[in-house]
Symmetry: C2
Subunit: 320 residues, 2 copies
């Protein structure tokens, strides 16, 4: 019998890690998730991964052949396979990510920035098929960006290009984990909108269902649910988030002149609540020559484990 070839795709996030076994058509043969425990040392994560992966393999059909693994993770250098000074992980300054994972998974491991693999996923399995110039913006715990330039992933001189999350939305603004002030990540991530809700609750007396939450419990989903119920604080927080994101995306268009921008990650699941204000402020801040020339879209993969599919696309790209 011909074996079924598949790859491992891993989305390593600041909160959860997802691991999928994915065929060449983007079908999941298996999918699991577990807490990343980013505040504990790196070996604790590897032990957890070993246990989860072992169980997945036990349940997999014996004819599945695992070729490679692709990993999307923040702050990784795709040339060296190393995570460098990850601000949201307590794993040290130099984390030998590809090497550590390869020892657990027993296949060669390719790593790249989480937003870069999202861009690869979008071109292989999503809405960017056939596009030469586009951007994917990941709005999760942080904000990342992946750029495809002339059909190829744009990685820069040291493999670290594409950090829109650490461009400045408000000078001298909120302190970011990276050490800079006012980074877009502090406004347009799930963490950012939670902070904006907190600020608005403190600054205004407007009634809001969000007043009943502690900051720890104030999830993106809670804010989204409040917006669905027309809660004024939730709606204003989305408006402000879209203002920051839209104005910075307009700058990004001035640099890259992409055909389309795809939003993905937790905050993109808010759909129209994030899309509408972002589009308004993108248009208002766009240099005139770019008007009508860029599409702002929610990723087709946002509800389909796009980050895992992107990591799998990175692996498939190395096979094909």
């Amino acid at each position: 019998m011909q074996p079924t070839q598949a790859v491992i795709g891993i989305d390593l996030g600041g909160t959860f890690t997802k691991i999928g076994i994915v065929d060449a058509f983007g079908n999941f043969l298996a999918l699991e998730r577990f807490p990343t425990l980013a505040d504990q040392p790196f070996p604790v994560f590897l032990d957890e991964l070993r246990a989860v992966f072992s169980e997945m393999k036990d349940q997999l059909s014996p004819d599945v052949e695992l070729l490679l693994a692709g990993v999307g993770a923040p702050d990784t250098n795709c040339f060296t396979g190393i995570m460098e000074n990850p601000p949201n992980f307590n794993w040290g300054e130099i984390v030998p990510l590809a090497q550590g994972l390869s020892e657990v998974l027993k296949v060669p491991v390719h790593v790249n920035n989480d937003a870069n693999v999202a861009a690869l996923g979008e071109i292989q399995f999503g809405g960017a098929k056939g596009m030469k110039h586009f951007s994917v913006i990941t709005l999760g715990t942080g904000v990342g960006s992946g750029f495809v330039v002339d059909g190829k992933l744009h990685i820069g001189n040291d493999g670290m290009a594409g950090e829109i999350g650490h461009t400045i939305a408000i000078r001298h603004g909120r302190l970011c984990k990276c050490g800079l002030n006012g980074c877009l990540e502090q406004y347009a991530s799930v963490t950012g909108i939670r902070k904006s809700v907190q600020f608005l609750l403190e600054a205004k007396d407007t009634p809001s269902v969000l007043r009943k939450y502690d900051f720890e419990d104030l999830t993106g989903k809670a804010i989204n649910d409040a917006a669905l119920a027309s809660d004024p604080i939730a709606l204003e927080a989305f408006e402000f988030t879209g203002e920051m994101l839209g104005y910075k995306l307009a700058e990004m268009v001035a640099y890259f002149n992409p055909e389309a921008i795809f939003l993905t990650g937790g905050l993109a699941k808010a759909g129209i609540f994030i899309l509408e204000p972002t589009l308004k402020h993108l248009e208002a801040n766009l240099l005139h020559i770019f008007h009508g020339r860029v599409k702002l879209l929610i990723s087709e993969l946002v509800d389909k484990e796009g980050a895992v599919l992107g990591a799998a696309a990175l692996a498939w790209q190395k096979v094909l």
Copy 2:
């Protein structure tokens, strides 16, 4: 006798136009300049160019064979050869630049953004030889940028990528000719530093030799001369200009991760006065992963008619 092959390079600026006849080694066989008269209609410019070019050709050795022309101009679309809505030119919304020039010069004409051709000049005749990822920032009447990504000019989906001059340095800041507020161009161009001097003269009582100038007469050279004489207003204007430029270049590095950034154009001729504060604020605003990974340099071509050489490089690129 073997003819000497050469190309025409034209640097079309908001104030002056320079036209050179350039061989494959970057030698000038002829070079002229004339006022662009950007406030008068486009045909007036073409008539002036016709007269200047005719005189140049009369004085050229008869064995010189002109192959092509390359033109660097702001707001041009390299796919169509059209200048689109140029804010610093009173030439209408759609200027058929390549077509108009081709009729005058009697050779095929390739146009591109002035900053893009500066990048081509830097790679062919300047300090970027062999580099795969670098940026050239032109600090002239306006601010432009050209990006080489993976060894190729980065032009984007519509041929209009690379507009750092119209990213925002100060939100709701100085009104730009493009219609946006606070564009980097309003702070880091020759025009920008003139405005900063004017602001400082008004805001402070500090004695300054620059007080004797009308705004019309306050040239970049006058500010540079004042800085050389340690004039406090001139030095503070350079410091502020470098602060704006450095912080925006740090953002640009987050997007592009280049090996080097080359500064060129009128303001770059100020050398250390612009380089030192720009470098300081670039370093202070750089995301930690990029520290020590980018060189900030004055273009080797800044005093060598680099804009004309860049335009010639664009033409040579099409020949070779």
